[in-house]
Amino acid sequence: EDNVSIGNDHLTVHFDENGFMSQITIDGETHPLKQNFLYYEGAYGNNEEFRNRSSGAYIFRPNGTEKAVTDVVEIQVVKSDLVQEVHQIFNEWISQVIRVYAGQEHVELEWLVGPIPIDDSKGKEIISRFESDIKSEGTFWTDSNGREMLRRVRNYRETWELDLVEPVAGNYYPITAKIAVEDDHSRMAVLNDRAQGGSSLVDGQLELMVHRRLLRDDAFGVGEALNETQYGAGIVARGKHWLFFGSSQKAVSPTLQAKERFLQNKVLLPSWPFVSAVDNVLTYDDYL
């Protein structure tokens, strides 16, 4: 029943009484920062008209708004000198480890999602959402295949008048390395380990789609529903997000963006670990 927090010399991540990440403390300042898993139900169309297609392999088309997967998260806290972790269980098919390594200025979130249940005959598209108090005023940034960050404005296109009839999918962009929001004071960026769809549907929010399982073909050509299975059950996906939160001030050196860029190199081109069993072959003295 105590307040749960993990951290290091640089930052502290706080959790609320329901087990959700709730705040982050950096440089003595505490900011609200929530994280949760939610899902959209895939739209079912008759595929006969352009505006009546199902959500499928080619198109993300949610049927209405998102739903949270749970109100209460079961957690286990693991603390050591090298790393501190909170193990979260959201439900039978979503869990996550939130960890902070000693000396590191970012938070690592290792998510595990699946098999997505379909016994209710509804396709589901699962997202991880981060909520902050950053006043981003409809603007967010997404990467361009790992290179420059492109400015995106919600419900807006630079070269034509937009009449957006799909307010969620119409604001989704491909995220292959990073998505970020910021205002005059703070900045939040999430790096990912694989291509995912992502958006900022509300000021201060970021979301990334981590897994999807759909039951209808979208009639764009594949001719199959996006319903992967392994060993007779829906497929399980495991991956990582890396969260940076801090000052957006450009006068601070190195800037948060510079730190994000270095981390991007490190996580996308990590050291390769090779292991070799040396029982009865090589003693430590031999190795030296």
Partner: protein, 178 residues
């Protein structure tokens, strides 16, 4: 060269737009996975050869270097079944790195030492139950041994000797709270 070409050719196939976006049929996705696996396996011989040349002691390494393909479910037959391991970290970046290493192991006491005779700080962290209970995971590993690679040189490597110990004065156990 033929091993490398096998992977080059598969990577060419993987540039098809359906492979990039995941809009291929399922049996095609399965075939892509098969092709990548076979090319990856072929190139492991090149990796082993390169590592033996890098370490300069070609004749002293009689064993196979391995990169575990079960790492995504925190499992590795080699790390969880051996009492003594050599772990080599190769840094592909143009600047030094200090990545953390996580090795799936059984519960116990482990000692991590570097090539200067020094003990490297390490800890044992339990693998989450949701990973251990995955139906297709075949592993005896219950924990991950965590330690930090120390300033691995750009495009260079560093190696560590990991041994399972009887005493408790080696890896520190993490404090857990439910």
């Amino acid at each position: 060269e033929s091993h490398l070409t096998a992977l080059r050719e598969v990577m060419g196939v993987m540039q098809h737009h359906d492979a990039i976006t995941g809009t291929e049929k399922q049996h095609v996705a399965d075939d892509y996975a098969r092709m990548l696996y076979e090319a990856f396996e072929a190139c492991s011989a090149n990796t082993r050869s390169a590592l033996n040349q890098l370490t300069g002691e070609r004749d002293s390494f009689k064993f196979d270097w391995g990169y575990c393909k079960q790492a995504n479910v925190s499992a590795c037959a080699m790390t969880e079944s051996s009492d003594n391991l050599v772990v080599l970290l190769y840094n592909p970046l143009g600047h030094s790195s200090n990545d953390f290493v996580r090795l799936p192991v059984k519960e116990g006491n482990y000692l991590v030492r570097n090539d200067r005779g020094q003990t490297v700080r390490s800890t044992l962290i339990p693998i989450p139950g949701s990973v251990i209970d995955l139906p297709f995971r075949e592993s005896e590993a219950t924990h991950e041994l965590v330690f930090q690679g120390e300033q691995v040189a750009p495009v260079g490597y560093k190696s560590y000797y990991v041994s399972k110990e009887e005493s408790k004065s080696s890896s520190s156990a993490a404090v857990m709270r439910q």
